[in-house]
Symmetry: C2
Subunit: 344 residues, 2 copies
Amino acid sequence: MNQKDSSITMRTVAQRAGVSYQTVSRVINDAAGVAPETRTRVLAAMRELGYRPSLAARSLARNRSEIVGLVLPSSVEAGFASAHLLQVVGGVDRGVSDNDYTTLLSSPKESETELSAFRRLIRQRTVDGVLVEASMGEEGVKLLVEAGYPVTVIGHTALDVPSVCPDDESGAYVAMQHLLALGHRRIAIVTSGEGQGLAVRARMAGCERALADAGLTLDQGLVATGNWSIASGRAAAEGLLDREQPPTAYFCFNDSMAIGVLQLLRERGIDVPREVSVAGFDDTPPAPLLTPPLTSVRVFSAEQGERAARTLIGILRGMTRPGAPVVLPSQLVVRGSTAPAHPR
Amino acid sequence: MNQKDSSITMRTVAQRAGVSYQTVSRVINDAAGVAPETRTRVLAAMRELGYRPSLAARSLARNRSEIVGLVLPSSVEAGFASAHLLQVVGGVDRGVSDNDYTTLLSSPKESETELSAFRRLIRQRTVDGVLVEASMGEEGVKLLVEAGYPVTVIGHTALDVPSVCPDDESGAYVAMQHLLALGHRRIAIVTSGEGQGLAVRARMAGCERALADAGLTLDQGLVATGNWSIASGRAAAEGLLDREQPPTAYFCFNDSMAIGVLQLLRERGIDVPREVSVAGFDDTPPAPLLTPPLTSVRVFSAEQGERAARTLIGILRGMTRPGAPVVLPSQLVVRGSTAPAHPR
DNA sequence: CTGAAAGCGCTTACAG
DNA sequence: CTGAAAGCGCTTACAG
């Protein structure tokens, strides 16, 4: 039997319960003013018939769908980011479905610009609001806002829309403090010039605060700029090793660049962590598997997604006012790649 | 201006174009029998007004939504699988949106059973068909089929539903052949007893075929059974090392177990690949980063998702008959963890 | 080739 | 507390 298009509608239920179908609607929507006895009868009829309301009809009548869009970068070249993105997806879906909403996916087609994912969502008119992963950029967010959609960003944004982001500043602060506490004084910072500008700035601020707390200031000569890739981490290390006084520790703003640093140090015969310490950021799945296992800053991606979903739905329901960014704590995971500074 | 609930409906467009709104409908649906001149006028009106049809209304009237569901395991503990799953998501979304469908996500809430993801989808009645990732199991697929939904499985299934799966048999065959060609004769196989039964069987069959081609047969004493985890890989290696004639190579049915094997061999001071070779399966992101980089069998997850999406939509459109499983080729990626057998 | 009618399955005021 | 009416924005036969 094909239950799917079984024409068990509100009418069927109403007949069986001996009421009008409007009353069935009331029961479904928990509207006040239904006699308890009637309600019971209707609920029984619904159960017996296996009635399931049509979302399409409901959406049409109410002018909302209880579906939220989720815009993500295309996964094709996600690489390491995959763990983060998938956690975000999982967290979002949890937050969304716990609130009896549903998640509609939208990522850009390869053949099109990144904005296509946003345009498709707008064109379809099927979602009530949209969650946007920060690396999708801000143009699309603007389009959504102009089109009248409530939006929540998962990650950092400079726009005036609600967002849920990790505490990059204190994550970097704690990592830097860790290296300082191990006695390191020449700590290289491997940052990136591409994308994620706000996160980079926050991390840098955390570094400077830790240095300041230790009575030090940032030595620009120890700052190298990569592009998040392993290769750029290698290049950064290569440049820094040429210094008269090479660093005794490297703090990289993501794990990939830390991996590049580790690779180059190994090739140069420099032992980590005995001679030099290395720390990363993001705590990606490979981190614990490297040789040595990588000390890194963990961000809670699933929690970010879930909080963002709850925030958005709160706004959709008129229960929350859009407010300041929600900042979730990050956490330093200490592993074998960091150790006390080599006594000179 | 809030474009979202702008009441630009078919009526508005019709007025502007000076036709009835049914004619607008015809134009939108590319129905035959509209005067070219009229069509042009309607299209112009649509563009000028920025008209976007309501998916909800259309779904209600046509009794289909052009939305497909995607059921995935919850990502909370996905770990390495995350790369595979995210690739699947990306591939699915590509295949789906290229066909002007949309992807609705459904993964089980933590608090509920795995079946909840399926039940929610069925209850909501909002999708036309469903894509199911194989690790979700077969119970849910049965529920969907009973409820009348066309289903396509991404991965292996014993059920009689369309599916798209990797060629595990030939992947394992090629990996085994690679080890044999390197001169290995005592090759341990580290398999798993949990889940993925069909994939395991296919991989085992591939191993046996490679052995047979080399005039050998499978030595059951060299088969160890883990549970996909790193720890179980370690345990497997530990057991095998105790043999009088320990293996000279390990072929593990996933990368995690291969990582466990690598870890244990290192602790025992056994050099990979000089003394012993190790190969994995799945080619997860950490594989190239290990010490030594891991030889592994790559499966094309994004392609699986995309093909599955196209298959399902073909069926929904009545253009494809559900047929035999689509089998996508796998590929051996040779890296530093495999080398010629140590001459005795 | 185009218009008028009926209906998809709900919700939302409006009476009573 | 419950029913009858109108409408959400489309599609689908049915006339002409």
